[in-house]
């Protein structure tokens, strides 16, 4: 009985339990937020301090990769729940928000722990449905449009992935990672290659990589701010990128997909950054920035080496931190200044010093400026690219960080630096519910960057499990 509530099981059962309890007619609706906050803190806590290897009773497993992902999920969910408390004014909407975040957590936690292709699909679908509803939460036209577009793209991606599952079932007669990988190693061409292609294409749609990125900016932009944090920080990364990492790591596809991933990654990096340069809307720019950063992860996976996987996972974690931070900043700015149009903002650093500083940290981390966290993951990625014999892609990755810096400096200049814009004199610093996550994420970004020599051996390298 003791195993029945071991860690992997807790991680999917507790949030579900929380949702059920607060929805029973017991007058516990107020506890929804507390449940979410406590659970996400608990998840982070266990991930940081407990030994990672345990098997739950649905064959759920936590290994190094899952551990990093679970930590990121807990972190982003925590941030998003607090931001929702600070920015969503309607009480009922907020209640639904907490519930959906908890359900999305069930989906994401399960997704990173399962070891079966079909169960992977099941949890991806749970996460996605929770996200559709989150995007459409306010039932404003923008949000509904974004949600519908995401739904359609996501369903097409799902169809592709499921066809791949069916083809793999046909080729190997199995759906669990280990058995499929084993069968694939025995030999395979034709059907498995087609399956791999379909699967990767589906996941790239989910991850919002170019050329399948169309839905992403709309969905991110239209979602309520707190939901954008969750989406941009973690949802698309677990549903798309994590699955890709897992499948590459388990050797499901061999190295046949490497050139495709490298190309898709490089194009995403550059196209996303170029598109971000031309944006006026704060959140839309962040969305394109996400596309660009996901490109780095995909590019790193394309190397097909252990170091590449480490780089990808590390960057995924860092991305979860700094992109959530940027979205939190966008949330704070829109909440206080009333607009996201960067051309109508300016000089907010004087009124919102914490947000302004956090934004500097986050943007520098994204651009890969040392000593912040983002630099180290980019370094690993670039070294991995170089060592696996792709110096040109390494150069693209390096030079694209210049583009990243360019659009973020422009953002910082238009929103935070310079003279205070007329009409913004009354702007105050965001409330505590927004400031706490801001500070926490800022500290993590700086801390990971500075403490990296100690973390490298204990946190970063164990992610690789080949």
């Amino acid at each position: 009985m003791k195993e029945a509530m071991n860690l992997p099981n807790q991680l999917i059962l507790l949030p579900l339990l929380a949702v059920v309890v607060v929805n029973l007619p017991l007058g516990l609706r107020w506890a929804a937020m507390l449940g979410g906050v406590f659970f996400s803190i608990y998840q982070m806590w266990t991930m940081v301090f407990l030994p990672p290897l345990e098997t739950g009773f649905f064959d759920l497993q936590i290994d190094g990769l899952s551990r990093v992902l679970l930590l990121s999920i807990g972190l982003v969910a925590f941030v998003s729940i607090l931001a929702a408390r600070g920015t969503i004014r309607d009480k009922r909407e907020r209640f639904y928000f907490y519930n959906l975040v908890l359900l999305a957590m069930v989906g994401m936690n399960g997704l990173v722990m399962v070891r079966d292709l079909f169960s992977l699909y099941v949890f991806i679908e749970i996460t996605s449905v929770a996200s559709f509803i989150l995007i459409a939460l306010r039932r404003e036209l923008d949000g509904l449009e974004g949600a519908f577009k995401y739904l359609i793209m996501s369903a097409v991606a799902t169809a592709m992935m499921l066809s791949a599952v069916a083809l793999l079932l046909l080729a190997t007669g199995e759906t669990s990672f280990a058995k499929v990988a084993e069968q694939m190693r025995l030999g395979g061409s034709g059907l498995p290659v087609l399956a791999a292609g379909l699967f990767v294409a589906g996941l790239l749609i989910k991850a919002g990589s170019v050329p399948f990125h169309g839905w992403l900016p709309d969905a991110y932009m239209a979602a309520p701010n707190a939901a954008s944090i969750l989406l941009g920080g973690i949802v698309t990364k677990t549903t798309g990128v994590y699955a890709l990492i897992r499948l590459m790591q388990d050797g499901m596809f061999g190295t046949g997909m490497s050139p495709v991933l490298l190309l898709a990654g490089a194009v995403s990096i550059v196209a996303g950054a170029l598109a971000a340069l031309g944006q006026r809307d704060f959140k839309r720019m962040l969305a394109y920035s996400s596309i660009s950063q996901v490109g780095y992860i995909v590019l790193s996976l394309g190397t097909g080496t252990a170091l590449g996987v480490v780089g990808a996972v590390f960057h995924l974690f860092n991305h979860a931190v700094f992109k959530s931070l940027l979205f939190v900043n966008a949330t704070a700015v829109e909440d206080r200044a009333g607009t996201r149009d960067m051309n109508q903002l300016g000089g907010l650093a004087a009124r919102m010093p914490v947000t302004g500083f956090a934004s500097v940290v986050a943007l520098l981390s994204t651009a890969g400026v040392p000593p912040l966290a983002g630099f180290w993951s980019k370094l690993v990625i670039i070294v991995a690219l170089y060592k696996s014999g792709h110096p040109v892609y390494a150069a693209v990755a390096v030079l694209a960080s210049l583009l990243t810096l360019a659009y973020f400096l422009s953002m910082q200049r238009r929103v935070f630096f310079g003279k205070l814009r007329e009409g913004l004199e009354g702007v105050k610093e965001a409330g505590w519910y927004v400031l706490v996550p801001t500070l926490a994420l800022t500290l993590i970004t700086m801390g990971v960057g500075v403490l990296i020599p100690w973390m490298f051996g204990s946190f970063v390298l164990p992610m690789e499990k080949f």
């Binding site: 000593p371 370094l379 670039i382 070294v383 110096p391 360019a406 422009s410 200049r413 490298f456």
Partner: protein
């Protein structure tokens, strides 16, 4: 003996971490007591200065102090040899004077907490960079200096200044990422970022020319040398002279220092570069001197002068292992130029703050109202021009003499022309600003602190010339150790 080494390690740690970590305490202290904050800022930099002086004897004896720790990218973190200690002494000395001068200058403006934080952090990371024993750490500190100078250039938050700050940041970042790519190329070949191991690995084999190009891109962008020089005059104009000084007297030296550290000490490079780099440096020196001759903005002139003088330093270092004298000259040049150019910038700062203009055509006759400033300016200018017996003369002489011996004649000629142009444009500035009729600005001498620091720098320019033996001995010892090889 073992005890001594432990002590030296502690000194080295103290030297680097006091300003880096102390910088973060400054804004907190500043909330309580601005005066205490100012003192602590100066103290932080002075700790570095004292520590580097304390290391002087040890490294002169040929010992190398090393701080080691197991990391994912190499076991050595910092090491102190003659070259590093020399550079650290120069930058912390100039840095201390900057902080002292700031007491007077920055007290008129907002955001002082941020200012002291940035300046001290800058100087601290400069120390870290100087002592770095592996390429990644070097790159990290390199970028921290870029970051802090980014915020310092945009310190006054005017839109134009913020744009220029972004430009400077982008340009140096561009160079730096190329340099990083070069580092990774080398890592790919040698499998380590550790400089000592790299030195053994590349003692006979040249590193690929592409890697040299990439690393040079970083160095040239940081040192504001052709073709990546445009950010420096812009950066020098927008903010206060203090930050301008920081860039002109300290920041740009990073590039030449790292050149000495990597391309002379650590890696063997193709002999071709001993001609190509001086040629680029020569072109940079001449063009910048030409620009300085027609420019009318006081601080831009000094900024262009910096670009031009950096060319001389590059010449001295880039002749490479062929001539010990030239390298020693290059190192001395770093010292002399730091004092003299610092003095010039601070004088410009006093002039600007008291007359509210930087246009030299609208200035004149200041020698009567600002005698100390004028004299200091003249002394520093003499040093930069290379008039004996001021410090600048010896370094310039050694560089050019070394070049005459071991590089093509045309390169030497370019630099001789450059030296003459230096004399012309500095004389022009002095005459237009301090001599002639007063143009009727409200003129008065700067505050005691500011004038005092200017006078101190002028004094240092003279003293370093009169007692040239001290610094040149040290420089030559450094060069011996640099070229000696084998001495880890």
């Amino acid at each position: 003996m073992a005890k001594l080494i432990v002590q030296n390690e502690t000194i080295l740690n103290l030297l680097i971490w006091t300003p880096v970590i102390g910088a973060f305490a400054l804004p907190v202290v500043g909330k309580v007591s601005p005066r205490l904050r100012n003192l602590l800022a100066l103290a932080g930099v002075l700790v570095s200065l004292v520590c580097s002086l304390a290391l002087y004897r040890t490294v002169m004896a040929g010992t190398v102090v090393t701080v080691a720790m197991e990391t994912g990218f190499g076991s050595r973190l910092f090491h102190a040899d003659c070259l590093a200690v020399f550079m650290a002494t120069v930058s912390s000395l100039v840095g201390a004077i900057i902080v002292f001068y700031s007491w007077g200058y920055i007290s008129h403006y907002d955001n002082q907490n941020e200012y002291y934080f940035l300046v001290v952090l800058f100087l601290g990371s400069m120390m870290g960079l100087v002592f770095s024993a592996n390429l990644i750490l070097l790159y990290v500190f390199w970028e921290i200096t870029a970051l802090t100078s980014w915020r310092l250039i945009g310190f006054f938050r005017e839109p134009q200044q913020v744009v220029r700050a972004d430009k400077a940041f982008m340009m140096t970042f561009f160079g730096a990422v190329l340099m990083l790519l070069g580092f990774i190329m080398i890592f790919d070949k040698a499998g380590t970022f550790d400089m000592i191991q790299l030195r053994e690995r590349f003692s006979s084999e040249c590193i690929p020319n592409l890697a040299v190009v990439l690393i040079l891109a970083g160095l040239l962008s940081k040192s504001a040398t052709l073709p990546l020089q445009t950010w420096l005059p812009d950066a020098g104009v927008a903010p206060s002279p203090v930050t301008a000084l920081l860039h002109a007297a300290v920041l740009v030296k990073i590039g030449v220092y790292v050149y000495a550290r990597l391309l002379i000490v650590t890696f063997a490079i193709d002999p071709m570069w001993n001609v190509v780099v001086p040629a680029v440096a020569g072109a940079s020196a001449i063009l910048a001197a030409g620009a300085a001759m027609i420019e009318t903005d006081l601080k831009r002139i000094i900024a262009f002068s910096t670009i031009s003088q950096i060319g001389f330093i590059f010449l001295g270092l880039a002749i490479g292992r062929a001539s010990e004298m030239a390298i020693a000259g290059g190192l001395l040049y770093i010292l002399m130029h730091g004092f003299a150019k610092g003095g010039l910038f601070l004088c410009a700062g006093i002039v600007e703050q008291n007359t509210h203009t930087k246009d030299i055509t609208r200035l004149g006759g200041l020698v009567r109202t600002m005698p100390v400033t004028a004299v200091s300016f003249l002394i520093c200018a003499f040093s930069v021009m290379g008039i004996p017996p001021f410090g600048g003369f010896f370094s310039k002489y050694m560089v050019i003499a070394g070049a005459a011996k071991s590089s093509p004649l045309w390169i030497t000629l370019i630099f001789v022309v450059g030296a003459f142009m230096t004399i012309i444009y500095l004389a022009r500035v002095f005459v237009m600003v301090f001599m002639g009729e007063s143009k009727g600005h409200e003129e008065r001498e700067g505050s005691v602190v500011m004038v005092g620091s200017v006078a101190l720098l002028a004094l240092l320019s003279i003293v370093s010339g009169l007692y040239i033996g001290v610094s040149s001995d040290f420089a030559q010892a450094a060069v011996k150790q640099m070229l000696g090889g084998g001495q880890p």
